[in-house]
Symmetry: none
DNA sequence: TATGAATGAGGGTTCATTCAT
DNA sequence: GATGAATGAACCCTCATTCAT
C-alpha cells in the first residue's frame, strides 16, 4: 500500500477561476494563446480587463496559472481514483468520458496552450513556479507509477514494459487525440475515444 | 502493382526554399510562429525583409507554403518507399532515423508551426490552397492505404484493424514524440525513436 | 508700523495635512508628480486610497491644495518676521536655515511639484482656486514690498533698484538653488546657502 | 592661451533633429514631458510614430538625446565665442538675445525637460550616456573657467570671487528667468533679459 | 466615514506591410 | 528584382477614479 503524500490544495478566488475557464473556452476553439487578447480573456471571464491585472502580473502569468490549475484538478481526480480498486482501462474510460464533456480537463485547450509556450518562456515560468511545478510533477509520477503497477498486477499491462514506455503510450494517446481534433477542428468530427482506449489497450497488453 | 497517380511536382525558387529552411530552423528552437518576426525569417534566410513580400503575400502565407513544402517532400519520400518491398516497420525505422537527423522532415518544427495555425486561419488557408491541400491529402491517404494493406498482408498489422485506427496510431506516435520533445525541450533529452517504433508495433500487431 | 491685512487662515483636517506631508515627502526624493501614484500618496499619508477622494476631487487637486498649503505656511512665517525689526539678510539667513532643515517649506519638493504643473493645468487651477491664489499673490506682493522698502531704508538695497529687479533676484536665487539641487541630486551635495545669501547681497547692495 | 581640446562633433540624422525640434517646440509651451505623448512628438516632428522607434529605443531616450543635442549646440556656440576677444557681458547679451529668439538654445523647453527627469532616470541615463555626458560636462567647465578668468582680467568680475560662486550666479540667472517665464507663462510676459544681465553684472562686479 | 476591489480609457511599444530607391 | 526605411494599427499594461460594503 503506497501512502499518498499530503499536499496543500491550491486556493483560487472566484475571479481567478473565471479567468481560467474563460481562457480554456477560448483556447478550446483552437485559437493560439498569442491570438487571444487580454481583453478577450476578460470578456470571456465576465470581468474587466484591469481586474485581471489585480490577480495576475501579466498575460503570460494567466497562462501559467491556468495550466497549473487544470493539471492540479486533473491530478486530484486521478488521485481520488487510486482510492478504490484500480483498473487502468476503467479509469481511462471514465477519464475520456469526462474529457469529452470537458468537465474535468480541457485537454484540447491545454494542448493548445502548452504548445503556445515557447522554450524560453517555459524556463522563466519554471523558475517562478518552481515549487508548484515540482509538486505537480512529483504527484504525476507517483500517480503514474501506481496505475502502471496495478495494471501489471491485474494483467492489463505486459510486465515486461517499463514505466517509461507506458507513459509514452498514455501521453501519445492524448496528444494524438488533441492533435487530430485540432487538425480536424473545422470539420466538427472529434476523435472517438474508443480509438484512444483501443490503442492504449493494444500497446500495453501482454 | 499499384499505379501511382501523377502529380505536378511543386517548383520553388531558391529564395523560397531559403525562406522555408530559415523558418524551420527558427521553429526547431521551439519558438512559436507568433514569436518569429518577419525580419527573423528574412535574416535566417539571408535575404531582405522586403524580398519576402515578393514571393509571399503575407507572413501567414510563408507558413502555409512552408508546411506544404515540407509535407510534399515527406510524401515524395514515402511514395518512393512504396516502389520496393513494403515493410511498415522498416519504413518507420528509416523515417524516424531521418527525422532524428532532421534530414527529411523538420517534425518538431512542423508540429510547432502547424499548432501555431488557428482554426480560422486554417479555414482561410484551405480555401486559398484548396487544390494543393487536396492534392496533399489525397496522396497522403493513398500512401497510408498502401502501407496499411501491405502491413496486413505481411503480418505486421492485425487484419481486423481498420485504416482509421492504424492512422490514429501512426499520428499519435508522431504527435506524442513531438509533444514530449516540446515539453522536455529545455532538458535536451529527446524521445527515443525506439519507443515510437515499439508502440506502433505493439498497437498494430495481430 | 505697517498694518497687516487680515485674512482668513486656512483650515485643514488632519487627513488633508497627512496627504500634503506625504506628497512632500515623496516629491523631496526627486520624483516627478506624474510618477507619483495616488496609491503612493495614500500610503505615504497612512490612509486609504479612496479616502483621498473624500477630501480632494482629483489627483491634480491634491497637488494644487498642497502647494497652496505650503505657500500659506511660508507666507505666514514671513509675515511674522515683519512684526519686529526688518532685515532682508537676517530674514533670508533664517529662512534658508529653516529651508535646509525642511522645517518651514519643502522647497525642493515644491519646486519639483510646481514645475510638474503644465500651463494648461495652471489655468484651470487658477480659475478653480482664483480667490485663494489671488489672496496668496496679494500677500506675497505686500510682503515683498515691505521687505524691499525696509531694505532700502537700512542700506541693504540700492535705492535705485526697483521692486521688479529685487523680486527677480530673490526668485532667481531660490530657483537657482533648487535647480542646482535637482541637477546634482544624485551626488548628494546641496547648494550652500552661503552662496545664495552672497549673491542676493551683492546683487542688491548699493 | 588655453588650448581647446578637440571633440568629435555629434552627428544627427534629419529625422533625429526633427524629433528634437518637435520636442522642444512642445516643451516650450510649458507641457511637462510626461504630458507629451509619443504621438505628439511624432506629429510635431512630421514623421510617423513608429519611425521614432527606429532612432530611439524609448520615449525616455528621445528626451536624453534631445538634451544632449541642445547642450552640445549651445556649448559649441560658446566655444566659438572664446575665439575672439572675451567679454562676459557682451557674450551674455548676445546669448540672451539669441535665447529670446530661441535660435540657439530652447532654454525654457530645456528647463522644463530637465526638471521632468526624475533622479532615478537621471542615474540610468548617466550610465547609458556616460561618455557623452562627461564630455559635455568637461567642455562646460572648461568654457566657464575661461570666461570667468577673462572676466576677472578685464574687470567684469571681482577677483575675490571663485568659480563656484560665478557659476551659481550664471545658473541662477538662467533658472530664474526660465522659472519666471514658466510661472507667468499664461500671461505672455517674458522676463526681460535686461534683468538677467543686470543681476549678473551687479552680483559679479568688484 | 473609510476603504480597496473593480474598472476602462489611454499611452508606450511592437511589428507586419508598403513603397521609393 | 531586391531592399530597408517609414508607417500606423493593434495590443499589453498602468493607474486615476468609482462605488459597494
Amino acid at each position: 500500500m503506497v501512502s499518498r503524500m499530503k499536499y496543500e490544495p491550491l486556493r483560487y478566488s472566484p475571479k481567478e477561476v473565471a479567468a481560467f475557464d474563460g481562457l480554456f473556452r477560448l483556447a478550446a476553439t483552437g485559437k493560439q494563446f498569442s491570438n487571444i487578447k487580454v481583453q478577450d480573456i476578460a470578456t470571456a471571464a465576465g470581468i474587466g480587463k484591469g481586474t485581471l491585472y489585480e490577480y495576475f502580473s501579466s498575460k503570460e502569468e494567466i497562462l501559467a496559472c491556468a495550466v497549473l490549475y487544470a493539471l492540479d484538478r486533473a491530478l486530484s481526480w486521478l488521485e481520488d481514483q487510486l482510492q478504490g480498486e484500480i483498473s487502468l482501462y476503467r479509469t481511462l474510460e471514465t477519464f475520456l468520458d469526462m474529457l469529452e464533456k470537458e468537465q474535468l480537463l480541457p485537454v484540447t485547450a491545454l494542448t493548445v496552450l502548452i504548445s503556445s509556450v515557447s522554450g524560453q518562456q517555459k524556463q522563466e515560468l519554471k523558475q517562478q513556479y518552481q515549487n508548484r511545478m515540482q509538486e505537480i510533477f512529483r504527484r504525476m509520477q507517483l500517480c503514474e507509477k501506481q496505475f502502471f503497477e496495478a495494471g501489471r498486477r491485474n494483467g492489463e499491462i505486459d510486465p515486461a514494459l517499463d514505466d517509461s514506455f507506458c507513459e509514452y503510450v498514455i501521453v501519445s494517446s492524448l496528444f494524438g487525440m488533441a492533435g487530430r481534433n485540432l487538425c480536424a477542428h473545422q470539420q466538427g468530427r472529434k476523435t472517438e475515444w474508443k480509438l484512444v482506449q483501443q490503442m492504449v489497450f493494444r500497446a500495453l497488453r501482454p
